[in-house]
Symmetry: C2
Subunit: 203 residues, 2 copies
C-alpha cells in the first residue's frame, strides 16, 4: 500500500520525488548512461538501496520519470487550450506560451526529453514515442479547431504542423535557456507566435 496517501504526502512518495529531481538533473547534464545510480542516490540524499527499494532498476526509474514529466506537460498544455473564451488560434498561442513556461520551470526535464526523444534502439523508446504522440495530438486538436473555425487554411496538414510546432517550441525553448537565458519569455513567445500566425492564417 502507498500508506496514508495524501495529495503530495506519503513518506515513500516524497522519496520518489527526491529521486526524480536528482535523476532529472543528472541525466540532463550527463545523459542516462553516463549517470550512475550511486550519483543519483547521493544527490537525492538517500541510500543506494532505497533506489532499488522504490524502483525495479535504473531503466524503470527513468521510464517513470519520463511518464511523470510528460504527464505534467500534457496537463499544462490541455489547461492552456481549455480556455474557451478566445479564438482557436489564440488557444494555440496559449499552448505555445504554456509550453515555454513549462520548459522554463522544468529545464532539466526538457533538456533530457530533447536528448532522448529521437533516439532509436533504447529500452524506453516505445514509451517515449507514445508520450510524444499524446502531446502532439493535444496541439493538433487546437490546430483542427482553428481550421474548423476558418482561422487556418483548410488544406493544412495539421499532423505535420503539430509535430513541427511541438518540436520547434521544445528546441527553441531549450536553446533560449541554454544560450540566451537573459531573454524574457515574452520575447521568445513573440517570435514563435509571429511565425505560427503568419502564412498559416487564412487570407
Amino acid at each position: 500500500m502507498t500508506s496514508t496517501r495524501a495529495g503530495g504526502g506519503g513518506r515513500r512518495e516524497q522519496t520518489r520525488q527526491k529521486l526524480f529531481v536528482a535523476a532529472q538533473q543528472l541525466i540532463a547534464e550527463q545523459g542516462f548512461s553516463a549517470t550512475s545510480v550511486d550519483e543519483i542516490a547521493e544527490r537525492a540524499g538517500v541510500a543506494k538501496g532505497t533506489v532499488y527499494y522504490n524502483f525495479k532498476n535504473k531503466n524503470e526509474l527513468f521510464e517513470e520519470l519520463l511518464r511523470h514529466g510528460v504527464g505534467l506537460l500534457n496537463a499544462s498544455l490541455r489547461e492552456a487550450g481549455a480556455g474557451r473564451e478566445g479564438a482557436p488560434i489564440d488557444q494555440l498561442d496559449a499552448m505555445i506560451r504554456a509550453g515555454l513556461a513549462f520548459i522554463e520551470q522544468y529545464r532539466a526535464f526538457a533538456r533530457l526529453l530533447l536528448s532522448e526523444l529521437w533516439r532509436t534502439n533504447r529500452a524506453w523508446q516505445s514509451t517515449l514515442t507514445l508520450l510524444r504522440e499524446e502531446a502532439v495530438s493535444v496541439v493538433r486538436g487546437a490546430l483542427d479547431d482553428a481550421v474548423a473555425a476558418g482561422e487556418l487554411r483548410e488544406d493544412l496538414d495539421t499532423g505535420l504542423v503539430a509535430a513541427a510546432v511541438f518540436g520547434m517550441v521544445l528546441v527553441v525553448a531549450v536553446d533560449w535557456l541554454t544560450f540566451q537565458p537573459e531573454r524574457s519569455l515574452d520575447d521568445v513567445h513573440a517570435v514563435l507566435s509571429t511565425m505560427v500566425r503568419g502564412r498559416l492564417a487564412a487570407e
Copy 2:
C-alpha cells in the same frame, strides 16, 4: 608521411572514414556513453587498437566526427545561400531546403547532433557550442540580407529568429525521418517555408 595521399584515398583516411560512419550510427542509436569503443571497432570492421591508432581517445573521435559533420552542414548551407539570383528570402528558403536535404542524407549525424547539442557539462560542449554558433550565423546572414532588402520587418531580432529556424529545421527534419519517413522532402519543406515567409514578411 601519410603514404600515397590521393584525393580521397590513403589507407589511413579510409579507415578513419569507416570509423566515422560506424561511430555516427551507433551513437545516434544509443548515445555516446552507451556506445563502446569495441562496438565501434566491430561495426567498422577494424580492430580496437586501430581506433586508438587513429584517434587519441573516444572523446577525440567524437569531437572530430562533430567537426567533420558540422563542416559539411555549413558548407551545404553556404552553398545554398550563395545563389545570388533570387531574392534574399528565397535564399533563406534555399537554406532550409538544403538543411532538410542534408539531414535526409546524414540522418544519423543529425540525430546525434540533436541529442548532444543542448547537453551541458560534457567534454565536447565548447566545441559543439562553437559549431552551433557558426551554423546559426550563416542563417542569420541570410536573414540580415532579407531585412536590408526590405523583405523582412526591420525590428526583427535576427539572432533569435536564426536560432529558432536552425532548431526548427533540425527538429522537424529528424521528427519527419523518425516518425513519418514516407513523407516527401517537398511536403516538409512547404510547411516550413510557409511558416518562415508568414508574418515575418513586411506587410
